[in-house]
């Protein structure tokens, strides 16, 4: 492939970036310039974290009764938001591991930011089981250990699988993320001064970029990617089985695993777009995150949106085709019942709005993608809300039906969770190189004196 073709496919950055030094200069300058906008956003995020902690402490002080959770809807906004954030996490590993193994030519510029997003999203998601259990001082009961009579947890329970899946996912994605940043931290170390230099000296682990280090590093990276690939598909499958293993109408279905995985990638890629657009603008990374990258991500959204829409239709069809009154009733209730608005927000944002992505001009317009990605984020949160709340509110016996209304505390924690995520992400953009420096260099032709070629000719 020629250089022009590679640039066209998004493999190479803008032709203005032609030397290794250019990458260091452009990426490392992000770390040295805080800027007013960053501080405004950071203050907002810190205030949101305050809201988050206040709401949570209030709930701990007063008890779980301050949430809207009750019989029959015992899982509400907390579990919805948990599944939402676990889903968000998926695109990071998809882009960093799966597209790495597939040698997708456009992943280099975007993968660091999306991987960071993965780690912070799992960190956010991991708080929700602790919030949801109410008495958080008993949260260590989630750890599989025997009780005082030496009875162990029931490993046939999907909730126990979930503990294993989420802790593994957090550990592996954090390790994968950190490992990938080490060479770039060394670059930051060699560039920084003063206290920052000390910081990078420690966290770069003394990386020098020797042949021995690179040799083993490249191999370790491939194996970690190969391990992360099945992991990412398994994690959201396991989360979906939290629902699918139960006999609740609307949950008990075999399509849940692929449907959840597709939805997770859909929402995750949308959030990568939402975050990459301002990042590119504020930090002047236009030469690295080009329209090609956004178009590639838009195509991923197109595909996963189609899968998700197909899954919605399959669910409706099978509810009707099953002939089961509770199953039919559950889905009728979703579309026309008390929560009709949530269901229609979901269908509009995840099914209809992304149809615009089939138009090439929309896919290549960064402003349009930004707006569409926000719609998708909203829609995917409502998808989980619809699945969880409407199904629980309308199970088998009519006298056991009931409604759920999120309380102010729950909304505070929901909004605060976005601030908590944003807080870490903003810190990340200031402390770690937000574009993978070493990997960007791999797509730039290496500097040659040219004597080798002349000799060969």
């Amino acid at each position: 492939m020629t250089t022009a073709e590679l640039t066209q496919r998004g493999a190479l950055p803008n032709p203005d970036v032609g030397k290794y030094e250019d990458v260091n200069r452009d990426v490392l300058k992000v770390l040295s310039r805080p800027g007013k906008g960053w501080w405004i956003l950071f203050t907002m995020a810190a205030a949101g974290v305050g809201l988050f902690l206040t709401s949570w402490f209030y709930q701990i002080y007063k008890g779980i009764g301050v949430s809207g959770l009750n019989a029959p809807v015992g899982w509400g906004v907390y579990i919805t938001t948990f599944v939402f954030w676990v889903g968000i996490a998926h695109s990071g590993t998809l882009i960093s591991a799966i597209l790495f193994l597939f040698r997708a030519p456009w992943r280099q510029a975007i993968y660091r930011a999306s991987e960071a997003m993965t780690v912070f999203a799992v960190m956010t998601a991991g708080l929700f089981p602790l919030i949801h259990v109410g008495r958080v001082w008993h949260a260590y009961w989630l750890v599989p250990y025997p009780n005082s009579r030496f009875l162990w947890p029931n490993f046939r329970s999907p909730l126990v699988w979930d503990v294993f899946a989420i802790t593994t996912y957090f550990t592996v994605s954090a390790v994968f993320f950190y490992l990938g940043t080490i060479p770039d931290l060394a670059a930051a170390r060699d560039h920084a001064r003063g206290l920052r230099k000390k910081f990078y000296q420690i966290i770069s682990l003394g990386w020098r970029g020797t042949d021995r280090e690179w040799h083993h590093f490249s191999k370790a990276y491939i194996y970690l990617a190969a391990l992360a690939t099945p992991l990412v598909l398994s994690v959201h499958s396991v989360v979906s089985w939290d629902f699918a293993m139960a006999i609740v109408p609307g949950w008990h279905t075999t399509i849940f695993a692929p449907y959840f995985v597709a939805g997770a990638i859909f929402s995750g890629v949308a959030l990568v777009i939402t975050l990459a657009v301002p990042m590119r603008k504020f930090f002047g990374l236009e030469d690295y995150l080009t329209v090609k990258h956004f178009e590639a991500m838009a195509k991923l959204c197109m595909l996963t949106s189609a899968i998700v829409l197909y899954a919605y239709m399959t669910e409706y069809f099978l509810a009707w085709y099953s002939g089961e009154p509770p199953e039919r009733g559950s889905f009728w209730n979703r579309v026309f019942g008390h929560y009709w608005w949530a269901n229609w927000i979901m269908l509009t944002c995840n099914g209809l709005v992304p149809l615009m992505l089939w138009v090439r001009r929309v896919r290549r317009s960064i402003a349009a993608l930004f707006v569409i990605s926000i719609f998708i984020n909203i829609g995917m949160w409502f998808e989980r809300y619809v699945i969880i709340v409407t199904s629980l509110s309308h199970e088998y016996e009519p006298w056991a039906w009931g409604l759920y209304r999120p309380s102010v505390v729950e909304m505070g924690i929901l909004i605060g969770s976005f601030a908590w995520f944003g807080f870490w992400f903003l810190l990340f953009t200031r402390l770690l190189p937000p574009v993978a420096i070493a990997e960007m260099k791999e797509v730039i032709p290496p500097p040659r004196r040219g004597r080798v070629k002349e000799d060969a000719a």
């Binding site: 030397k19 290794y20 260091n24 599989p144 009875l151 162990w152 029931n154 490993f155 046939r156 126990v160 699988w161 294993f164 899946a165 802790t167 593994t168 550990t171 592996v172 390790v175 994968f176 490992l179 080490i182 060479p183 060394a186 670059a187 170390r189 060699d190 560039h191 682990l205 003394g206 990386w207 020098r208 970029g209 020797t210 042949d211 021995r212 280090e213 690179w214 040799h215 083993h216 590093f217 490249s218 191999k219 370790a220 194996y223 970690l224 391990l227 992360a228 099945p230 992991l231 398994s234 396991v238 420096i437 260099k441 791999e442 290496p446 500097p447 040659r448 004196r449 004597r451 080798v452």
Partner: protein, 181 residues
């Protein structure tokens, strides 16, 4: 942990190169002259340098990955089976040993152990974390340049200098103390 270690009675030379091909050629020339104590530095995993210039063999990291993964899977199965057998309690009419359910735990453990032991394998083989001061290093090697560091006894140091100087280095720096790198 390992890092660069002072080597008694040896001297070091660091050559900084702008071009990839000169670096590869310099490594080949050093190897041809029978030098073994040298390292190449690069700002990226450049395969040409790793494969042609240094002719590195297979990385043993994969053994760590495999061993970790198998240990994890075995641990997951053993743990779930043993705890179920330890107090046999039928729940939901399912067998005491519900293998399909345990596959999930074993799978997650396989990935977790495999990933962690890959990192351990990398650290052991690559000599990380290197907490000693950064000697035998040039900060340009994380920016845009390549480097070669050679440790040799004083008798051979002139020969090394001649070889390296033949490939137009940007900078040639001599260390009175040699380091094993």
């Amino acid at each position: 942990m390992i890092g660069a270690r002072f080597r008694r009675g040896h001297q070091g030379i660091f050559a900084l190169f702008t071009h990839l091909d000169s670096t590869v050629e310099a490594c080949k020339a050093l190897r041809a002259a029978g030098h073994k104590g040298f390292r190449a530095y690069a700002p990226l995993p450049e395969h040409e340098l790793l494969e042609e210039g240094l002719a590195l063999t297979h990385s043993p990291v994969r053994v760590f990955t495999l061993a970790g993964g198998l240990t994890g899977a075995a641990t997951g199965f053993a743990f779930t089976s043993w705890t179920s057998m330890d107090w046999p309690l039928v729940t939901g009419g399912k067998p005491i040993l519900s293998i399909p359910a345990y596959v999930i735990i074993a799978f997650e453990c396989a990935i977790l152990f495999g990933a962690l032991s890959t990192v351990i394998g990398l650290f052991i083989n690559a000599g990380l974390p290197n907490l000693r001061p950064l000697v035998a290093y040039h900060p340009e090697c994380s920016n845009g340049s390549f480097g070669v560091y050679v440790t040799a006894p004083p008798a051979r140091i002139d020969e090394v200098r001649t070889i390296l100087a033949g490939f137009d280095p940007e900078e040639l720096r001599e260390d009175p103390d040699g380091f094993d790198v």
